[in-house]
Each structure stands twice: as C-alpha cells, then as structure tokens.
C-alpha cells in the first residue's frame, strides 16, 4: 500500500509548474500561489500518509506488556525481530511467494493483454472482453479466495471428480492448505493488476512500428522481443509494483489458503497485533516498508515508467 503511494509521489514530480518565458504580471507568478496550489495534495498526503507512517515509526520504539504499550525509547523490538530465525525464515518465504506469483501473473497477464490488444480487431470487442476480465472484481476478494476451498478440499470438486474418473486412487492432499493453494489463490486474485497496465501500454503502441518492423524483415518473435516488449516495459513495471506490494503485504490469503501451515510477513504482523504487541508489529511494519520501497526503487531504476505516461 505504502509502496504504491511512493509510486504516485514519483509520478507527481513530473508536473512541475512551468514559468512563462516573458515577465508578464500574473497571479501565478507569485511564489505563494504555487504553494497554495500544492497545498491540498500536501495536506492529504501529510495527514493520511506521512503522519501514520511517522506514528508507526514512533511506536516501534515503545515498550509493551501483554495489555498495554508504554511510550519509551527501546530498540529491542528491532533486535528481537531481526535477531530471530523466524523473521528471516518468514521473509524468505514471503520473497518466495512474491517471486513465484510475480512470474506467473506476469506471464499470464502479458499474454491476456497481448491477445486483447493485438488479436481482437474491434475496439468495442476489446473493451467488452476487458470488462469481462474485471467481472470477478465485482465480488469481494475474500469471497473469491474462500470459494477455492470447497473446490480444492480432500472431498472437494477436483478430488471427487478425479477419483470418479479413476485418474487417482485417493484424494490429492496438497491441493488445499498448502503453498500450492496460496500461490494459486494469489495468482487468481492479482493477475488483473498485471493485465490492466500492460493492456494500457500495448494499446498505445503505434501500429505502424510493427508494420515497419515486419517490412524490415523481422520475424514475429523478433517483433515481440525488439518492439513490443520494450515498449510495454512501463506497463510491466507498474503491474509488477502492484503485484509485489500486494503479495508482500498479504496476510489473509496466506492464512486461509495455507490453513496456518505457512507464514508471511503480513501474517506475522497480524498475529502480533491480535496479541496486542503493537510495538513489535510496528517495528516489523517499518522493516517491511523499507524492504518494499527498496524493491520498488529497483523496479523504477530498471524501467523509466515516466517515459510512456
């Protein structure tokens, strides 16, 4: 969540007020006016983004017992978190989920967007099919996730059909309450976040570029790798930022689909919050924020998303 707002901040830099070339007296020449113009956004970001983050940062140095938190300046929330093998294992696990889900959503998302952008001829049909992609989002994501449970369970739809068809002798156990289930649900939930921005950039590609490449003798694969993918990079980057931040911060999918068998950073925080260990959770949140910002910075370094917007 915070990381995507950082993305916004980067976007906002683009629109700096330009000074007119000649000195004509205008209201907008007064320095005060530009500050006033920036004020609403600054206020909103300050109140709803900066202030909460500062509060989290502050609380992460507080002391706590089983019911209350005490203003203080202690660092053991960080040393306990960073010094525990659990944290490292959970971060590793979270990175694993992020990488797998990112690769899968990128692959699926890109090809769905490619199909919509290049294989559907009429714009109306493109829009209709794109809207069809968003239909599942009319329901809550928890419902979409939970609906996998009766499907994948030991006596669920898949297992009972497989057994009745005589394909497997006994139920396949790893389908539910496993890492497989977590990845499946996440890919299902987050692929659209990849489709949308990639579809958007693909639609902006000038079709004459592809014709030119074809005229110059490029094969279909060469057009893909030399023309389409480079031009789709900003969309891929934006989609990746969405997916990475969503997966890194997820806790409910991991809890429900793994049945508590697997952990993520978000789940670790949720556990701490439910046990009233706010300072420990805050320290964890600060660490996660730093990690996610680093990933987003890395993505932005590789791809200049401003170029296309």
């Amino acid at each position: 969540m915070t990381a995507s707002t950082a993305g916004h901040a980067a976007l906002n830099k683009v629109s700096k007020p330009m000074r007119p070339p000649r000195k004509i007296w205008r209201w907008s020449n007064l320095p005060l006016v530009s500050y006033l113009q920036a004020m609403p956004l600054a206020l909103i970001l300050g109140l709803f983004l900066l202030l909460p983050i500062l509060t989290i940062g502050m609380v992460s140095f507080w002391d706590y017992d089983s019911v209350r938190i005490y203003p203080d300046f202690v660092t053991f929330n960080y040393t306990e978190t960073l010094g525990s093998w659990v944290t490292w294992k959970i971060y590793l696990n979270t990175f694993k989920f992020t990488l797998i889900v990112w690769l899968l959503t990128l692959f699926i998302g890109f090809w769905v967007a490619y199909f919509l952008a290049f294989h559907i001829r009429s714009v109306t049909m493109q829009m209709v099919l794109f809207l069809v992609c968003t239909v599942p989002f009319l329901t809550s994501n928890i419902i979409r996730m939970i609906s996998w449970v009766p499907f994948l369970g030991r006596n669920g739809l898949i297992n009972s059909s497989l057994i009745e068809l005589g394909i497997v002798p006994k139920p396949i156990e790893f389908l539910l309450f496993s890492e497989f289930a977590v990845v499946l649900a996440m890919v299902h939930l987050y692929t659209l976040f990849m489709v949308t921005p990639i579809f958007n950039t693909l639609m902006r590609i000038d079709r004459s570029l592809i014709e030119a490449a074809r005229d110059a003798g490029a094969s279909g694969f060469q057009i893909l790798t030399n023309v389409i993918i480079p031009l789709a990079k900003p969309g891929i980057a934006i989609g990746s930022i969405f997916v990475v931040t969503l997966v890194m911060g997820d806790f409910i999918t991991v809890r429900f689909m793994s049945g508590g068998q697997s952990a993520s950073v978000g789940l670790m925080m949720a556990n701490q919050i439910s046990l009233l260990q706010y300072p420990a959770a805050a320290a964890n949140a600060v660490i996660l924020l730093i990690v996610v910002l680093l990933i987003v910075a890395a993505i932005l370094r590789v791809v200049d998303i401003r170029k296309e917007l």
Binding site: V86, I90, G156, G259
Partner: protein
C-alpha cells in the same frame, strides 16, 4: 460514553429526582418489594447499558429478554477474545459491562479499568457454584491447574486491583457461563477408540488433525497432549517455565513439520467446516461447534478423555466509570442474569450456568436430566432457537455435570511468561 456524560451534567432538578427515585427504588428492591418491575422502573427505561464480549454469551435473546423483564436497553457487541482484552484495557469508556473470560480478567483487572462488585448487593450470591468461590466443585475435588476462576474472582476492597487469595465481599466478575472442552472427533472416520489426548498424535491421523491457533488456549491443548504422551512433565501447566514453553513449542513444531496437522483454526466456523468437510477427523473443538457439525447430519463426538478436560469460564464485570442509575441498573441486570432464565438458556446450549439451582426452575425435568444429569433424553432435545438438537434416547457426551466439570485438568490461563510464550507460538505458526 454520551450516556455517561449526559448524566454527569450537574445536579439539576431532573437528575436529583432521578437519583432520589433510584435510591428509593433500591431500598424497595432490596427486600420489601420483590419481582422485577420496581418503583424506579420508570427511570430505568431510559438507561442503555453497553455490553461487549466474546460471541458465546452475547445473545440477542438475552437483550430482548432484558428489555422485557427489566425495561432497559442492553446493547451487545461481539468480538474475538484478543480484541476483547485489548478494548477492555485501552478503551474503558467504550463499554459499561464487560463479558470476559477469567483469564482475560487476569490481564484486564490489574489495569484498573473495572470496579469490583459488592457481594451484599447480589441476591443470588449463595447460589453461585462453589467452583467459582473456593475452586472446588465438591468439597473433596482437587483444584485444577491454570487460571482457575476463584484465583482471580475476588479483590480485597472496592478500589483494589490486586486479586485476593480467598473469597472477600468484592467480586471481580460474576460468573455466567463455563464449560469443559475436549477433543472433537468424527467417529465414522477415526476408525478406533479415542481415549486420550495423546491420540491426536497417532500416525494414523497424519494430515488429519488440527489444533486451535489462539496461543493462550492452544498452548493448554498442546500441554495436555505432551503430558499424556509423557514427553514433558510440567510443574504447573497453567504457568509454564521458559524451558517448558520451549519444549512444548518444540514438540509442536516437530509434529507440524512431520505433517501431522492439516490446518490450524482460529474461528468457530473454521473448526466446523474442517470437521464437516472431513479435512480433519480429530481436533480441538468447542461444544457448540460439535453441535453445529451434528446439525448438518454428520456424526461428531465431543470425546471425553482419560486425562480430563480443559475448562474455561466467563463472567460479567463492571466498567470503572459506571455510577448512579446506570450502576444500579447493572446490579439489577446481574441479579436478573443469575435468577435462572439465562442460566436455563445457556444450559440448553450445552454450556453450564453459574447458578445451577436457579436455572433448574426454568427447565423441564427431561432437559435437566439430559444436560445436567447425564440421563438419556426422554423426548427430543430442542435448542433455544427451536431446532431439534438430539433425538429422544440420546445421552450427552461426557455425561453429567459433576462428571464433566469434576474432571477438569486445567483452566485456560495467562502465564507469567506470557510474552515469551506468544513469541514462541509465533515461531510454531511460522515454522
């Protein structure tokens, strides 16, 4: 909050009359006039008491009956037990009556956000089961380990926050509801007799077992399992040392990585679904969850085990800010709570009421026989909502009240090493 403020706006004529009437009413209510619509019932109609607590006893039927019998409004909020603890301590003005478990009271009461209750204002104090007063169900029974209700049931004085070692005239919570928990099984799928907590670790149930993922309750279930397997000998399961916590969690982690557990559950419905779908055949369970599985027509048994039960108990406590007519209404409510109607209601759900004698008068002989005496039901046993729970001839799992509550091995508890335990529990979930 607003309610409380409104009534503290100084002593004008109206409030003077109100409190005067309340005092008169109290005098009348305390002896001379019996039955509920007392003189001050006119004022009390405007009172709203805000009660919050865990789902088990936050029943709309109770609020409706309160309106009918006592005239005032009871607003109920249900939260999970962690959220209840947190809200009780951090937002003491947001509630008037806290409906909490005894182990939660052990955390909450020392924070000074609640006021103890005057025993002399309780009409049915002598009817309360001795389990909550002395800790013994019968004079010869043994006191179980853990946070036994009587150890946190009393304080020394009206403004004390330290628990008293023996009964005084100031009670922290009036007990309302309690039960003995054990493992739930699917008798059609386990394929053998289950007699001990250790059976959940049987390799035959690999990938088909589950335990609850609420640390303070789960650790007790784990302790019952470890102790019956003989892997760990505890000094006091309810108050483990760091070494004992390490061993217990280490044992759980090993079982988890070996694939013994299918899933861990946190909410009531999760436990019902795991059992009903056959994902799990043996797990920690709560009694109404067993009833919910059965009501789907699926066999499920609340299996008594030879090591005994893990018990829990809850009660009502008053927020510190309560005073004047609201405080009087709260006492009226407490007295009504123990007078039998609610007790019978809870008994019919498979819980136990704190004042069994008064509840008996509101139950039929057959109901009493089935729920409390372990007798076979003569007619169908009907839940408070009118659904048939058990057919005629059924016998309650575990039998009579004395057999179940008399075989309590430990109570849900808060340990001195609570924070350490929670950290280790997180390791177990992460492992």
């Amino acid at each position: 909050m607003t309610e409380a403020i409104k009534n503290k706006t100084g002593l004008n004529r109206r409030t003077f009359l109100k409190t005067g009437a309340a005092a008169a009413g109290l005098a009348a209510g305390s002896g001379a006039i019996t039955g509920f619509p007392t003189i001050w019932a006119q004022n009390i109609k405007n009172v709203t008491l805000r009660q919050f607590g865990t789902g088990v006893s936050n029943l709309n039927d109770v609020a409706n009956k309160v309106k009918e019998d006592l005239g005032f409004t009871l607003q109920m909020t249900a939260l999970d037990s962690d959220a209840v603890t947190q809200r009780a301590v951090t937002q003491p003005d947001s509630y008037d009556i806290a409906d909490i478990e005894y182990w939660i009271a052990k955390k909450v009461f020392p924070a000074g956000v609640m006021q103890p209750m005057d025993v002399s204002k309780m009409k049915y104090f002598d009817k309360i089961a001795p389990l909550f007063i002395t800790g013994k169900l019968t004079p010869e029974s043994k006191i179980a380990q853990g946070t036994a209700p009587h150890t946190v049931g009393f304080v020394e004085s009206a403004d004390a926050t330290k628990f008293a070692s023996e009964p005084t005239k100031w009670m922290t919570l009036i007990p309302t509801i309690y039960n003995a928990d054990t493992l739930g099984i699917r008798p059609d799928l386990v394929g053998r007799d289950i007699t001990s907590w250790a059976d959940i670790m049987d390799p035959a149930f690999k990938g088909k077992a589950s335990i609850i993922n609420i640390p303070s309750i789960g650790i007790m279930d784990a302790a019952m399992i470890c102790e019956s397997l003989g892997t760990i000998k505890y000094g006091d399961k309810g108050n483990m040392t760091k070494a004992e916590i390490d061993q217990t969690v280490g044992f759980l982690i090993k079982a988890k990585t070996d694939g013994q557990f299918r899933s861990f559950w946190k909410t009531f419905d999760e436990s019902v679904n795991l059992m009903a779908s056959g994902e799990v055949v043996i797990q920690s369970m709560w009694s109404p969850a067993v009833a919910a599985v059965r009501s789907k027509g699926i066999a499920c048994k609340y299996q008594p085990l030879k090591e005994g039960y893990r018990a829990w108990g809850g009660g009502l406590g008053l927020a510190k800010h309560l005073s004047g007519i609201e405080l009087d209404a709260a006492y009226e409510y407490i007295n009504w709570y123990l007078s039998g109607w609610v007790g019978a209601y809870l008994n019919r759900q498979g819980y136990y009421s704190a004042a069994p004698e008064t509840a008996k008068t509101f139950m039929t002989a057959d109901e009493w026989g089935y729920w409390m005496e372990g007798k076979a039901a003569v007619g169908d046993i009907v839940a408070p909502d009118g659904k048939v729970m058990e057919k005629a001839g059924a016998v309650r799992d575990g039998g009579a009240f004395e057999a179940r509550m008399g075989a309590v091995a430990c109570w849900n508890s808060v340990m001195d090493e609570d924070r350490y335990m929670v950290r280790k529990w997180n390791e177990f979930i992460a492992a």
